[in-house]
């Protein structure tokens, strides 16, 4: 919970990691990958929040709890596992590891799963097992993940749609989609989000949360999100601009609000790439600059509350204290967790 000027905000951090990118768990691609993350971290964080690279490679559980919940304001944080075993042999951050941490800190974390449609029948059984053991209601998909000679997959692939059917059957309603720089075939735009459109149309009972709002394809993301009410945007990567490039942040959030509305944008830090404490503080203090308000309007308290936690709370069926609810009414266009397990 965060409180400012007598207004309290329920905070859900929609995307956090506890990764292992230490030297003994990475090859040259893993090294390049974590360097890339560190570039984002140091390029867009306020100077006082920049870590040494060693700490960034492998921080401790205590660091994470401290940053998210003790100095940070999160009521809940969502673990989004990312395997990347072709880069990090023991996995970058796995559901098993995340579940152990979550068990040590009750009521703090939501443990999401992951699947890779290239894992075939074995992967489907694993998804069922993860659902049974950890009660997952969401999965993270990284479409650019390398697997042997493969350089990624699409949500519109028949194999992915098959996995999504399984998600629907199990009541795993929140599908977090993360695009990266490679996908087969490499001559196509890997960041293209049109495949999300196909999957979202096919599965109206599932929510598709596109991480970092489709960046670097904000325009394509906005375009499909206007047509698919079950497509949402996660603010990771976009929100740190609030510090270094506030006018660009105003434009990006302005565009998102114009096309998606206030009910389909969710806050995320992508911890440990960014520290949620300063992101939350700056977001609550943020306003669209006056000369841009004619174009984009203003961010109201309700808008901030919804983005910082209420929208994610709706997706994950979290209990929000009465005094932190929005005062106006939302459009309520997002599929609820119940929808997917209802009559086919």
């Amino acid at each position: 919970m965060y409180e400012k000027d007598g207004i309290s905000y329920y905070i859900v951090d929609g995307h956090v990691h506890f990764w292992n990118a230490a030297a003994d768990n990475r090859n040259r691609f893993g090294e390049g990958f974590i360097e890339c993350f560190y570039g984002y971290h140091s390029s867009l964080s306020p100077a006082e929040w920049v870590w040494a690279k060693d700490k960034f490679d492998r921080y401790t559980e205590q660091d994470m709890i401290h940053d998210l919940f003790e100095v940070g304001y999160a009521d809940k944080a969502i673990f989004q596992p990312t395997y990347l075993k072709d880069f990090f042999p023991a996995g970058f951050n796995t559901i098993e590891q995340n579940a152990e941490i979550a068990a040590r800190h009750p009521d703090r974390f939501i443990v999401n799963g992951a699947f890779d449609p290239r894992d075939g029948e074995l992967g489907l059984r694993q998804l069922e097992e993860d659902h049974r053991r950890h009660g997952i209601t969401g999965v993270k998909l990284y479409t650019a993940e390398w697997k042997g000679s493969s350089r990624g997959y699409k949500l519109s692939d028949a194999s992915t749609l098959h996995y999504l059917e399984k998600c629907q059957e199990l009541g795993i309603t929140n599908i977090h989609v993360h695009k990266g720089p490679t996908i087969w075939p490499l001559d196509r735009d890997a960041f293209d989000v049109k495949d999300v459109d196909v999957a979202a149309t096919e599965f109206p009972g599932l929510n598709f949360i596109v991480e970092h709002c489709g960046l670097p394809r904000l325009e394509d993301f906005c375009w499909i999100a206007t047509q698919e009410p079950n497509v949402l945007g996660g603010l990771a990567v976009a929100i740190p601009f609030i510090h270094s490039r506030p006018r660009y942040f105003a434009k990006v959030i302005g565009e998102l609000l114009f096309w998606l509305g206030e009910d389909r944008i969710t806050f995320a830090s992508d911890y440990a790439i960014w520290q949620p404490k300063w992101l939350v503080e700056k977001f609550v203090d943020f306003q669209i600059p006056e000369d841009m308000q004619g174009e984009y309007g203003q961010l109201t308290t309700d808008v901030k509350r919804k983005i910082l936690g209420l929208n994610a709370a709706r997706l994950y069926d979290l209990k929000v204290p009465d005094e932190m609810r929005a005062t106006g009414s939302g459009s309520g266009t997002v599929a609820s967790p119940e929808a997917a397990v209802g009559p086919a």
Binding site: F33, L186, D187, R188, E219, C222, E255
Partner: protein, 226 residues
């Protein structure tokens, strides 16, 4: 343009090479690679030119990287006094595939054997269209009149940028041509001008914020804070 990181004095050849590289754009950001500081060094010895390129991250998309290396090579090849060209992309996960592929001149599909299903013309065109929309929105944000023709718009760098992208898409660039045509050259109907430009603005915001990310990441990666 001042060469970055080169100890050599600027000769006529290197100046010509820098100018040629200034016509090469990052297809994704629609900006010259020299403005973006992707060119880290240009050197020339007896007509043999060597260019070093760098990108904001190790994992920048390999298809766009290939296009930039290939375009840079083509822009330099054929300059007078240039007898040999070597363009090297550094610090990238696919540096070898890209550098060898461009040098061999056999195309992207051959460079990424088994991982690509064709050449990059289609990808380039998708991004030319985005660049076109962004340039059009910059030009039209102040004059969103459906009947305005190119000849009615006073000359400016913004108009010049728009005309260049029009020409690249093969669209009519004569003074009588309407400004508000879509990337296929079809006139935008009067009743559709506002929503058309509204989406074009989103494209512009997207390209501009991507550029900001890339500039920041490059600065951080190469520790240049100037």
């Amino acid at each position: 343009m001042t060469p970055v990181g080169t100890a050599r004095p600027v000769t006529d050849v290197t100046a010509a090479v820098w100018a040629a590289l200034g016509t090469v754009r990052d297809p994704e950001l629609d900006r010259p690679i020299t403005d973006l500081k992707f060119v880290s060094e240009v050197s020339a010895e007896d007509g043999h030119v060597r260019v070093r390129l760098r990108l904001p991250t190790y994992f920048c998309a390999p298809n766009f990287a290939y296009l930039m290396v290939d375009d840079a090579r083509q822009a330099i090849t054929g300059l007078s006094a240039v007898t040999g060209v070597e363009v090297v992309l550094e610090d990238h996960f696919a540096s070898d595939e890209i550098n060898n592929g461009v040098a061999a001149g056999e195309g992207f599909e051959a460079a990424f054997d088994g991982l690509a299903a064709g050449e990059l013309g289609g990808l380039r065109r998708v991004f030319l269209r985005k660049g076109y929309l962004a340039a059009q929105e910059r030009l039209c944000s102040a004059l969103a009149e459906p009947d305005v023709r190119l000849g009615d718009v006073p000359d400016s760098p913004v108009k010049e940028a728009f005309l260049l992208r029009r020409a690249e898409l093969g669209l009519d660039c004569t003074p009588d041509a309407y400004v508000l045509t879509d990337p296929d050259g079809t006139r935008v109907p009067a009743g559709r001008v506002a929503p058309y430009l509204r989406f074009a603005r989103t494209v512009r915001v997207s390209l501009e914020s991507n550029e900001e990310y890339c500039r920041g990441l490059l600065r951080t990666r190469y520790k240049e804070y100037t």
